[in-house]
């Protein structure tokens, strides 16, 4: 039974990753969006290094939040349209675990590339060198939570009119703690303080979200497909 579950998770994961690999543009769009949003700030606010250094952590995190949001539609909507989501719900394996696998695939194709891109954009914002490690670690702990919470929102808004805007209205208020501690960690590191407290809270959020949110996603999928 447990090996069956493992196979199902591996299949769901491999399927979503293969689909993403076949359509690289879908993966690239949120990344380009991330880069554009970050580049808009020097144009809109000021190219002054001192100002950008102060804004940097917040700008990077807000842009990462928005880029994740933009990619959430992809999580279930194609499977919903072609009916394969119904099959997933009907499968004998626990839906929460399968939803977690799909969320992991989403994170691997959005959160992880965002993290890899972030140091380049941090250079543009004159982030102090001491803060790079913290930026990467904070994003590593925070972006999975963004994918997890976003998955519930995506499941709840499946097939609704105005889904995208509605989704942001549902999900963004729930993202505020991640934003606060994620940007807080980077700011602390940039100004020479220890980001440890911020990072351990982000880690705690991740553990709690991993344990509970997939069940909520499964419940949301059942409600939307009923």
């Amino acid at each position: 039974m447990s090996s069956g579950l493992f196979t199902a998770v591996a299949c769901a994961l491999r399927r979503d990753l293969t689909l993403a690999a076949r359509k690289p543009a879908d993966v690239a769009t949120p990344l380009v969006f991330f880069a554009i949003v970050v580049s808009l700030f020097p144009l809109g606010v000021s190219p002054e290094p001192a100002i950008l250094r102060g804004l940097g952590p917040g700008v990077l995190w807000v842009a990462a939040l928005l880029a994740t949001l933009l990619s959430l539609n992809r999580l279930f909507s194609a499977d919903y349209a072609d009916g394969s989501l119904e099959l997933l719900v009907l499968s004998p394996q626990p839906l929460a675990v399968l939803a977690a696998a799909k969320t992991l695939a989403h994170w691997l194709t959005t959160g992880l590339p965002l993290i890899l891109l972030s140091p380049v954009l941090a250079v543009q914002l004159y982030l102090p060198e001491a803060a790079y490690g913290t930026l990467l670690l904070a994003l590593l702990l925070g972006t999975p939570v963004l994918s997890l919470i976003g998955a519930v929102g995506a499941a709840l808004t499946l097939g609704l009119r105005g889904g995208g805007v509605l989704l942001s209205l549902l999900v963004l208020p729930l993202y505020t703690p991640i934003l606060i501690f994620g940007a807080g960690a980077v700011t602390a590191a940039a100004s020479g303080f220890s980001p440890e407290a911020h990072l351990s809270l982000l880690g705690a959020f991740l553990v709690v979200a991993l344990a509970f949110v997939p069940w909520a996603t499964a419940a949301a999928l059942r409600i939307s497909l009923d």
């Binding site: 519930v152 709840l156 808004t157 609704l160 009119r161 105005g162 889904g163 509605l166 209205l169 549902l170 963004l172 208020p173 729930l174 505020t176 703690p177 606060i180 501690f181 807080g184 959020f205 909520a216 419940a219 949301a220 409600i223 939307s224 009923d226």
Partner: protein, 247 residues
């Protein structure tokens, strides 16, 4: 106990029962509001620091309490609807949302009106105001989700799940905002005593409590009114509704 619950939880009996209850509760609201306003505006002494502006507290704090309380009612009703498929609970969640949003809005407006004389600015990123703002967004998200779903059953269940996630998140959001606030608090805000500080004199506490109870009863009145309309709407093809409409 279950017989009682079953009797009044049936939409038809609840409709009639609420019809009897509403005028009484409305009367209680008016009396409580009158007492609270009299105490708050005439009997309560001006604060030695904030002067007469302390009277804003009798609106602001009860409104802020209600904004939290109504969200708890909303999520609780949603959970009951989700678990026991009780139609009345589903309707309660949907009916409570706009009332709660209006109280949240009132708390924000009065917080801003209180902030101007106290902080010298209409808006400060104070922990309480920021939490209220995010709470307002949570209410608006709930209402937008309900409005976007045509099937009432799916709307109720999706809304309930969202409300439950929101309820779990509210303490986390509140804690994060408070943490963030202590790090970023500008000097002009921290130098002035926090509004609605806990060490409160009884002459201020009584009107505060009475206003809070008045708001709670008011919420019950409007909730029952909305529920009655919602019951009529959902049961529009039944005989008893036709009877009630004819008379």
């Amino acid at each position: 106990m279950f017989d009682f619950l079953h009797k009044y939880a049936s939409p038809r009996n609840f409709y009639d029962f609420a019809g009897i209850l509403i005028p009484w509760l409305a009367g209680v609201t008016v009396v409580l509001l009158a007492i609270g306003l009299y105490q708050g505006l005439f009997l309560a002494p001006p604060d030695y620091q904030q002067g007469q502006s302390v009277r804003i507290m009798f609106i602001h704090v009860p409104a802020a309490w209600m904004s939290m309380f109504v969200y708890m009612v909303l999520a609780g009703a949603g959970a009951v609807g989700l678990i026991w498929h009780l139609k009345l609970a589903e309707m309660t969640a949907a009916a409570a949302a706009p009332i709660g949003a209006s109280f949240t809005f009132l708390a924000l407006v009065t917080g801003s009106l209180w902030g101007k004389p106290m902080w010298g600015t209409w808006w400060a990123w104070d922990a309480r105001l920021t939490s209220e703002l995010i709470l307002l967004f949570l209410y608006l998200g709930f209402m937008a989700l309900q409005a976007a779903i045509d099937d009432p059953k799916r709307a109720a269940r999706a809304g309930a799940l969202l409300a439950l996630i929101g309820v779990v998140n509210i303490p986390v959001i509140h804690f994060s905002v408070q943490w963030w606030n202590t790090l970023h608090q500008p000097a002009s805000v921290s130098s002035i005593a926090k509004i609605g500080a806990p060490a409160i004199h009884p002459s201020l506490l009584w009107p505060l409590l009475i206003m809070a109870i008045a708001f709670t009863v008011f919420f019950a009145v409007v909730l029952l009114m909305r529920l009655r309309a919602e019951i009529l709407h959902r049961e529009r093809y039944t005989h008893w509704v036709a009877e009630r409409i004819k008379s």
